[in-house]
C-alpha cells in the first residue's frame, strides 16, 4: 500500500455475507491494524438476505430457507476461524444433512416423494490444506461416468439381467477403438454391454487428454439409445427405475456435452456454455424431454430459485453456472452434502462474526441507509484525476441515545441472537418510531432523522460497496450513468423476489404422513416448491409449551409489476404471500401430509401452534390461525435473489475491477467465480474485495475462484 503510514480507513456499506467477510479479512491480526474498518448498515441488524430475527417466544424468523452446502469451502473456512477466535466449536452450530428429496407427479396426478441419501465424504468443509483440491473438468467427467456406471448396475439388477458382461472381442488397438467396436458390432444391444462400455469409457477419459471425442459421442449416443429402447417398457411401470434412468440420462448428457463442447481444454471453463439455458443445453446434448422435466431437475432449479421474473413457466439458468454448481455440489462436498444450521442464520453466522469484528475494533454504524455513491474524476489510464468515490451519502434512520453505540444483540436460550425488530429503547424517539411503524428495512419507507455525507480523505479512504445488486440502480446513479459496463450489469444481472413462510406444528410431521427423517424437499408444487423439516430448531426457541413440528417453505415470488404506490408495497406483498400460503396449504398440504386434512378436505388449521401473545383475545380459529405463524415477502431491491440467467456472467463486474481507484464491490452478484446467488459466492466476493484492498488473501487461497 502506498502513500500512508496511518491506518487506512475502509468504509464497508452493507453487512451481509460479502461485507462482513471483507471486514473479517481486512482486520486479521496479520494486518497489524493497517485497516480501520467501519460497517454501515441499514436498520438494526446484519445479514442482508441471510438476516434472521428472534420473534415472540424466541421464534427464529428467517428470510427463507438457508441450508449450507458441503462445498461452501470459503464460507465454512471463515466461519470456522471466527468460531475458533471465540473459542467455540463450529460443529455444534451445524448438523450434517444427507438426504435430499424431490417430488414427481405420478400418472394419477399425485405427488410422489423420491428421497436419496448422499454418503459422507472425507473431511469437513473449510478444512485447510490436506485433501483440499481443485477438480478439473476431466475429474468431473470421470466422476459422472463412475456415477452412471454405479446407477447402471442398479438398473441392470432391477431389470433382472446378469452383470457378467462379455469381454470385448475383435482386435481393438486402443481403448477408444474398443468403444467404437462395441458400437459397431452391436454389443450395446444388452444392458450388460452398456455396462461394459461405460467401464471402457472411464478408461479412455482417464487415460487420454485429447481423447477421440467423436468416438465417445458415438458411444454415448448408442448407449443411451440402446438403454432407452431396452428399458422403455419397464420405465413406465417401475417409477424407481424411471427415476434412476432419468438421472443416468441427464448425467450422460452432461458428459456428452462436456466432450462435444470441448470444455476440458477451453480456457473459459464452464463459462464457455454460459449463453445456454441448462435445460436447453441438456436437450441439445441428447437428454430426453422427460428427463429434463423430471423432479430431479425441477428440484435443482427450485433450490436455485431459477425462475425468471418468478414465473414457474420460465425456468432459466446459465448452463455453465448450473453445471459448475451441480458438479461441485455432488462431487466436491466434504462431510455431508448439506449442513443445516443449529439456529437462525443470524444466530449461527452473523452474531459470532459481529462479536469477533467488534473485538477486533470494527465499528458498526446501524440505521444508515445509503442514498448515493458520489463519483468524481475520469475513468481511464493516464487520467489526471482518476475516477474515484468522493462521498458516500446516507440517511440516518435513527440516532442512538446518549451517542452510544447501538447494541444489537439479544440472548435467547443462552445464544446471542438478533431480534426481529429494533430495540426502540436505545433509540432517540424510539417510542414514536414504534407507534408510527417505521419500517427501517423497507426500500419504500424513506423516513429519516438526519442525513450524513462521508467524504473521502476526511471520513474514509477506501470503500467497499456490499449492498445487493437490486439496490445498485438507486444508490450508484453516477456509476450507472457514466459507465456502460455498470449500466449493462444492472440491465443483465437480474434478480427475483422470493417469499417464505414457517409453520410451528402441534403434531409431529411423521404423524401427518411425512417421513421420519427430517428432509429437505424441492421441486414441489408452486408457489412454494421448496420446504424443509426444521424441527431441530425447536429446542433453541423459548416457547412456554413447545410445538412438536417446524417446517419452512420458500420459493420465488412472481413479479407482477405491482410496485406502484411505493409506501404500501411491503404490506400489499405481505398480504399476497399470506393469501398464497393459505391457498397452498389448502390445496397442496395433503400431498405432503395426508393426515393434515380433515374429512371435509380442509386443512386442519388447529395443527398450527399459536404463541401465547396471540391468544390474548382467544385462540384464533380456522384460517385465522395462520396469522400467528411467520411469513415474509422479500421484495426490497436488496433482498431480491440474484439470478444466473443465460448469458449474464459476462456482464458481471469483479471486485478486483478498478473502475474507481478507491472503491471495490462485493456481493453474490459480482464476478466471483461462482456467479450465482449463494452464501459461498458472497463470501468469495468479500474475500476478493479484501484482496483488492490489501492483496490478501492470495487469490490462490480462495478455494474455487480459479475453477473451470
Amino acid at each position: 500500500m502506498e502513500q500512508s503510514e496511518r491506518p487506512i480507513r475502509v468504509a464497508i456499506v452493507g453487512g451481509g455475507c460479502a461485507g462482513v467477510t471483507a471486514a473479517f479479512e481486512l482486520t486479521r491480526p496479520e494486518h497489524r491494524g493497517r485497516y480501520e474498518v467501519t460497517v454501515y448498515q441499514l436498520g438494526w441488524r446484519l445479514g442482508g438476505k441471510g438476516a434472521s430475527g428472534r420473534g415472540v417466544h424466541g421464534r427464529i424468523e428467517e428470510h427463507g430457507l438457508h441450508v449450507w452446502m458441503g462445498w461452501y469451502e470459503n464460507a465454512f473456512q471463515i466461519l470456522r476461524e471466527c468460531y475458533r477466535e471465540l473459542d467455540r466449536d463450529f460443529l455444534q452450530a451445524f448438523i450434517p444433512a444427507t438426504t435430499i428429496a424431490v417430488t414427481e407427479r405420478d400418472t394419477r396426478g399425485q405427488w410422489e416423494l423420491w428421497m436419496r441419501s448422499f454418503p459422507p465424504m472425507e473431511g469437513l468443509p473449510g478444512d485447510i490444506g490436506g485433501a483440499a483440491r481443485h477438480p478439473t473438468v476431466r475429474d468431473y467427467i470421470v466422476h459422472v461416468v463412475a456415477l452412471v456406471r454405479t446407477l447402471f448396475a442398479d438398473v441392470v439388477s432391477r431389470a433382472g439381467e446378469a452383470l457378467s458382461a462379455p469381454r470385448v472381442t475383435g482386435v481393438p488397438e486402443s481403448a477408444a477403438e474398443a468403444l467404437a467396436a462395441l458400437v459397431h458390432y452391436g454389443e450395446l444391444a444388452t444392458l450388460a454391454g452398456i455396462t461394459q462400455g461405460l467401464a471402457l469409457l472411464e478408461v479412455v477419459i482417464t487415460s487420454f487428454t485429447d481423447y477421440p471425442g467423436t468416438i465417445l459421442v458415438r458411444f454415448l449416443d448408442a448407449a443411451v439409445a440402446n438403454a432407452r429402447r431396452l428399458l422403455e417398457s419397464r420405465l413406465e411401470n417401475d417409477p424407481e427405475l424411471r427415476r434412476i434412468w432419468q438421472v443416468i440420462d441427464l448425467a450422460l448428457a452432461t458428459v456428452r456435452g462436456q466432450i462435444r463442447f470441448g470444455l476440458v481444454n477451453d480456457p473459459r471453463g464452464f463459462d464457455a456454455i454460459d449463453d445456454y439455458d441448462c435445460r436447453e443445453w441438456l436437450l441439445l446434448n441428447g437428454a430426453a424431454a422427460s428427463s429434463v422435466d423430471s423432479g430431479y431437475l425441477r428440484g435443482l432449479y427450485g433450490l436455485g430459485f431459477a425462475y425468471e421474473d418468478g414465473d414457474f413457466q420460465r425456468p432459466r439458468v446459465s448452463a455453465g453456472v448450473a453445471l459448475r454448481g451441480f458438479l461441485r455440489a455432488f462431487f466436491t462436498y466434504r462431510g455431508a452434502i448439506f449442513w443445516k444450521m443449529r439456529g437462525g442464520m443470524g444466530d449461527v453466522v452473523f452474531a459470532p462474526l459481529y462479536e469477533v469484528l467488534r473485538r477486533r475494533g470494527v465499528r458498526f454504524a446501524f440505521f444508515h441507509r445509503l442514498r448515493n455513491v458520489r463519483v468524481a474524476g475520469v475513468s481511464g489510464p493516464g487520467a489526471p484525476d482518476a475516477a474515484h468515490v468522493e462521498a458516500l451519502d446516507f440517511d440516518v434512520q435513527a440516532e442512538i441515545r446518549d451517542g452510544q453505540p447501538y447494541e444489537p444483540l439479544v440472548t435467547v436460550q443462552g445464544m446471542p441472537a438478533w431480534p426481529s425488530c429494533p430495540d426502540y429503547h436505545q433509540l432517540v424517539d424510539g417510542d414514536r418510531f414504534r407507534h408510527e411503524s417505521w419500517d427501517f428495512e423497507s426500500h419504500w419507507d424513506e423516513r429519516c432523522v438526519a442525513t450524513r455525507s462521508l467524504r473521502v480523505g476526511d471520513d474514509f479512504d477506501l470503500a467497499v460497496l456490499a449492498v445487493g445488486i437490486g439496490a445498485i440502480p438507486y444508490v450508484c446513479r453516477d456509476l450507472v450513468g457514466r459507465d456502460p459496463r455498470w449500466r449493462e450489469m444492472v440491465d443483465h444481472v437480474r434478480t427475483v423476489a422470493t417469499h417464505a413462510f414457517q409453520l410451528w406444528l402441534r403434531t409431529a410431521t411423521s404423524d401427518l404422513g411425512w417421513p421420519e427423517s427430517p428432509i429437505t424437499l424441492s421441486g414441489f408444487a408452486p408457489p412454494f416448491d421448496t420446504c424443509a423439516d426444521m424441527r431441530h430448531l425447536l429446542p433453541l426457541e423459548s416457547w412456554p409449551s413447545p410445538p412438536i413440528g417446524l417446517v419452512y417453505f420458500c420459493s420465488v415470488l412472481p413479479d407482477d409489476g405491482d410496485y406502484a404506490e411505493g409506501g404500501s408495497v411491503p404490506a400489499r406483498k405481505r398480504e399476497l404471500v399470506r393469501a398464497l400460503a393459505v391457498d397452498f396449504l389448502r390445496r397442496q398440504a395433503k400431498h405432503l401430509w395426508p393426515r393434515a386434512i380433515d374429512e371435509s378436505g380442509e386443512f386442519r388449521w388447529d395443527l398450527l401452534a399459536t404463541p401465547v401473545a396471540a391468544m390474548g383475545a382467544g385462540d384464533p380459529a380456522g384460517e385465522g390461525r395462520f396469522a400467528t405463524q411467520f411469513w415474509t415477502a422479500n421484495v426490497n431491491p436488496s433482498d431480491r435473489y440474484t439470478l444466473a440467467l443465460p448469458g449474464s456472467s459476462k456482464y458481471r463486474i469483479s471486485p478486483l475491477d478498478a473502475t474507481c481507484d478507491n472503491l471495490t464491490i462485493a456481493g453474490d452478484w459480482t464476478e466471483c467465480g461462482v456467479n450465482t446467488g449463494c452464501v459461498e459466492a458472497a463470501v468469495i466476493s468479500g474475500r476478493l474485495a479484501a484482496h483488492a484492498i490489501a492483496r490478501a488473501p492470495r487469490l490462490e487461497d480462495i478455494m474455487g475462484y480459479d475453477h473451470p
Binding site: 500500500m1 502506498e2 481403448a175 480456457p267 477506501l462 492483496r695 492470495r698 490462490e700 480459479d706
Partner: protein, 242 residues
C-alpha cells in the same frame, strides 16, 4: 483534496479467475491460509510473484506426474483384462508418445508463462527489489554449449529465456514420462570452460539408460527462478521392466 493525497487501491497481478491450463490440474494446496502481512508479500517473506512462479514450476512437474499416474492407471486397467494382450503394447506405446508430446507442450507453455511473469516482475508496478544480476538481461546474448557423451544417437534441445543471460545456471535432473525410468543428470560446468563465457551443459548418457524423452528445468541459482528447459531424446528400442 488533491488526487495525490487520496489513498488508492494497490495494483493487482490479475483481476479475473484463471480457468485455463494451470487449472487443468490440481492446484498446489497451500498450508498458509493467513493473509499477507504486507501487500504483495506473504508471511514467509517471499514475493507473491516468486510464489506464483514457484507454484507454476510445481504445477509443471505435476503435469508430468499426472500423466505418469494416468499411464499407470491405464496400464493397471489393461492388466486387469479389459483388453486382449496384444493390444496392450500398442496402447502403451501410444500413451508414451502422447505423454512425451504433452510434456514437450508443457515446457513450451510453461516457458511462455515464465517469460510473461518475468516481464511483469521487472515492470514498474512491482515494488519488490529485483533479484541481483551480474549483467543486464538485454545487454548480452544468451549462449550455452552442450557437451554430450553418449554411445547411442541422442538429440539435445535447450530452451532459455532472456533471464538466463548472465545467470549462474543449475539444471534439475531430467525426468522421463515413465515413472520407472531413472533420471538423467546434467551438470553445468564452469562458465570459463566455454568460449564467450557461456555455460556448458554436460550430458553423459549411461550405456544402459532406457531410451525415451527426458525433460528438466534450468534455473537461476541465485533466485531459484526457472529460466529454461532441457530435453534429451534418446533413441533405441523401447523395453519395459517385467
Amino acid at each position: 483534496m488533491s488526487t495525490n493525497e487520496r489513498i488508492k487501491r494497490p495494483s493487482l497481478d490479475r483481476t479475473a479467475p484463471v480457468r485455463n491450463w494451470s487449472t487443468l490440474l490440481n492446484a498446489v494446496p497451500s498450508g498458509d491460509a493467513a493473509p499477507a502481512g504486507e501487500a504483495g508479500t506473504n508471511s514467509r517473506g517471499t514475493s507473491g510473484l516468486g510464489d506464483a512462479i514457484a507454484r507454476s514450476v510445481a504445477l509443471g512437474y505435476q503435469v508430468v506426474e499426472e500423466y505418469v499416474r494416468q499411464g499407470e492407471h491405464a496400464a493397471r486397467r489393461m492388466s486387469e483384462g479389459a483388453y486382449r494382450t496384444e493390444s496392450v503394447t500398442a496402447d502403451t506405446q501410444d500413451l508414451a508418445q502422447r505423454m512425451g508430446r504433452y510434456a514437450s507442450e508443457l515446457v513450451g507453455t510453461w516457458l511462455e508463462l515464465v517469460q510473461r511473469t518475468g516481464a511483469a516482475a521487472t515492470g514498474p508496478r512491482h515494488a519488490e527489489p529485483a533479484a541481483p544480476r551480474t549483467a543486464p538481461t538485454s545487454a548480452r546474448a544468451i549462449g550455452v554449449a552442450v557437451a554430450l557423451r553418449s554411445s547411442r544417437p541422442a538429440e539435445v534441445a535447450v530452451e532459455l529465456t532472456p533471464e538466463a543471460a548472465g545467470a549462474r545456471l543449475v539444471v534439475h535432473a531430467l525426468r522421463a514420462c515413465e515413472a520407472w525410468k531413472p533420471r538423467l543428470d546434467v551438470e553445468v560446468e564452469a562458465r570459463a570452460a566455454a568460449p564467450d563465457g557461456a555455460a556448458v551443459l554436460s550430458v553423459r548418457i549411461p550405456d544402459d539408460h532406457p531410451p525415451g524423452t527426458y525433460e528438466g528445468l534450468i534455473v537461476d541459482e541465485a533466485t531459484n527462478r526457472p529460466v529454461g528447459a532441457v530435453r534429451v531424446t534418446l533413441a533405441g528400442a523401447e523395453t519395459r521392466p517385467t
